[in-house]
Amino acid sequence: MGDSSIADGVNCPVPFSRYDRVQLGHGSGGKMSAALLKERFLPHFSNPALAKLTDAAIVEVAAGRLAVSTDTFVVRPLEFPGGNIGSLAVHGTLNDIAMMGARPRYLSAGFVLEEGLEFEVLDRIIAAMARAAEEAGVPIVAGDTKVVERGKADGVFINTTGIGELDRGFAPAPDLARAGDAVIVSGPIGRHGIAVMAVREGLEFEVEIESDAATLSPLVELLREQVGDAVHVLRDPTRGGVASALNEIAESAGVGVELVEDALPIPGPVRAVCEILGFDPLYVANEGILIAMVEGGSEQNAVAALRAHPLGEEATVVGRVVEAHPGLVAMRTGIGGTRVVDMLPGEQLPRIC
């Protein structure tokens, strides 16, 4: 019976693995490692450069300057509404490349797998990663996997490195912010951090908050086409949120920033969760919005350019770059007072009462 069913050709292209979880042996470098690669990774990540499985991938790039960025992802939980660690690892690195004004071209991915990680989960992570890379049009050309003993990692850690090509003439950078620039955010603030936090802490709300994780290159393309050189700074406000990103820009450009509290696009559910936990949405992580500082007078064009894309529908001006108080971010509060929006010393902590 077994023979005949094989002869009938059960349409399984790879040998059926008897494991449902990652074993230490999958990191041995032997047959199990090869099987892991063939069964789990290659079906999703296939592209000519990777398929050769040589020691290093050989890729073509245009002559000129390259942008290179690397980032390591250690999120818990591994899966959250709106994405998982795999899609995050692609978006995060591609967005860092895009924020330099570069066009992302290639990605590499390194995985540290914890013994015991369920393949079901790993498969979803790999699939999401492949989907995110494909949507961005950026192949994963090099990769690596290691397995560590149970308890030595948190399911899976992923490192991605990205390479992008820079155009001459379009090179926004944090130290290029100038007094008079408008400060624009491309969408609602705080969704990623709150989505992850809600799952991690087992908090349930009537409305599910989804992570905003997305690739920002299309928004950068629109800004490049419509506003060009008037774009002085691009920044994706990930860890530390909008407040930390603005502080870093103010510091590196030696300028002040003035925000208008009432102009900040903070979704109601994010606001509500922050109220309950005593958090400030300005410090909550985002993975699918950018901050743009554009020359005064170009802000309407920039906002219109961003709004042409679904990711930028809620783009809006939230403040100005000023000469006063260099290195500091201030905010005009809803009731007409002023406050400083400083960097946080560490992570935000829920309050007692």
Partner: protein
């Protein structure tokens, strides 16, 4: 957001600020008792709106800030034990003890976890019978009922591997201590809305009469606070000294009776040490004798640990309103949120941290820069 955005309306807030300035014929000195109110005042710039008419002194109502150093050291000693899961609300984690904080204990292998309710800590104890689960029970009358309930439930369920490290304090004795201190400047109080939600305001009535100070039970949003200030200023201008309630959507005169009952079943009134204010008679809550089995201090024998406060920390003068946080010589230099000398620089509700995080750049502009 319903019941929130209405109380943050800029137009209403500015209208109230204008009324306060019109009513005040001189500069009055008011104290907001609660750290949550301090947070709103400094974050929203309410003190700035009222400059000239009202001076706000930031009171001792931040539970993290008034928890004495030695109690924190006791917590750290317990949290370092291998058999212990030490649970706490989030903002206690970064409060420095004499040598380290709970984050550092965790990095050295201690099992320290943030919980959102003491009942979550009790659940942890139920699920980890081979571990000792300890909850750091700090706070004012606001957190006392839930903490009392956790101990009550532990006894009901026969859970023996659960205990609480108690550092509960109560507001009225601290107000008396402030009013009786020779350098007192406070002429009126905004009482803490959430404390009064539990306790009501009857215990404030004799204080208002005896010390001739207006006391207004006040909420936490900008419009609440401005309205509370206006009510207090009106009383002062009219020579009245009564207890009034601004926070009518939450507070009743008698408070929450069932909550008060569970507190008095589990806790006794005790003398308590306040960080920066010293020992205040009958100002705290301790476990009653019959709940001694749930007292972490006794269970782990840490009651002998004592500690001296840093001499460079002027938290006491800040809490008494003698120094503004940014008038402390260490403010912003030796003492910053990353490396705090005292607790008011640590907690997000502490007056020093609020000044540092939200107000640093206002100071030079006020002095004419």
């Amino acid at each position: 957001m319903k019941y929130l955005s209405e109380y943050r309306d800029g137009r209403i807030a500015r209208g109230l600020a204008d009324s306060i300035k019109q009513v005040a014929t001189r500069r009055w000195v008011l104290m907001e008792v609660c750290g949550g109110q301090t947070h709103t005042i400094v974050k929203q710039g309410i003190d700035e709106l009222l400059a000239g008419a009202v001076e706000m002194i930031h009171g001792p109502g931040c539970p993290v800030c008034v928890t004495p150093l030695e109690q924190i050291d006791r917590g750290l000693a317990i949290a370092s034990r291998p058999e212990v899961i030490f649970t706490s609300f989030g903002d206690m984690l970064r409060v420095p003890g004499s040598e380290m904080d709970l984050f550092q204990v965790r990095s050295r292998g201690g099992d320290v976890r943030v919980v959102y309710s003491p009942l979550d800590a009790l659940e942890l104890a139920r699920r980890n019978p081979d571990k000792e689960v300890v909850f750091f029970a700090v706070g004012f009358e606001t957190t006392a009922p839930a903490n009392a309930m956790a101990v009550w439930r532990a006894r009901e369920l026969g859970i023996e591997n659960f205990s609480v490290l108690v550092s509960h304090v109560t507001v009225p004795p601290a107000m008396v201590a402030l009013l009786e201190s020779p350098d007192n400047r406070v002429q009126g109080f905004l009482a803490a809305g959430h404390v009064c939600t539990v306790m009501g305001w009857t215990e404030y009535e004799p204080l208002a009469r005896k010390y001739e100070v207006p006391i207004v039970v006040t909420g936490f949003e900008p419009v609440d606070i401005l309205e509370g200030i206006l009510m207090a200023v009106k009383q002062l201008e009219e020579g009245r000294h009564e207890v009034e309630n601004q926070y009518v959507r939450s507070v009743k005169r008698d408070g929450n009776r069932p909550a008060q009952e569970v507190v008095s079943k589990v806790f006794d009134v005790v003398d308590r040490q306040w960080r920066g204010l010293g020992n205040i008679p009958s100002s705290g809550l301790g476990l009653r004798e019959e709940f001694a089995a749930y007292d972490a201090e006794q269970k782990f024998g840490v009651h002998t640990i004592t500690a001296e406060e840093s001499e460079e920390c002027h938290a006491g003068e800040v809490l008494r309103g003698i120094l503004k946080p940014n008038q402390c010589p260490a403010f912003g230099t030796k003492c910053i949120p990353e490396n705090p000398l005292g607790a008011p620089m640590v907690s997000s509700e502490g007056a020093c941290a609020a000044y540092y995080n939200y107000g640093r750049f206002r100071t030079p502009s006020e002095s004419g820069a």
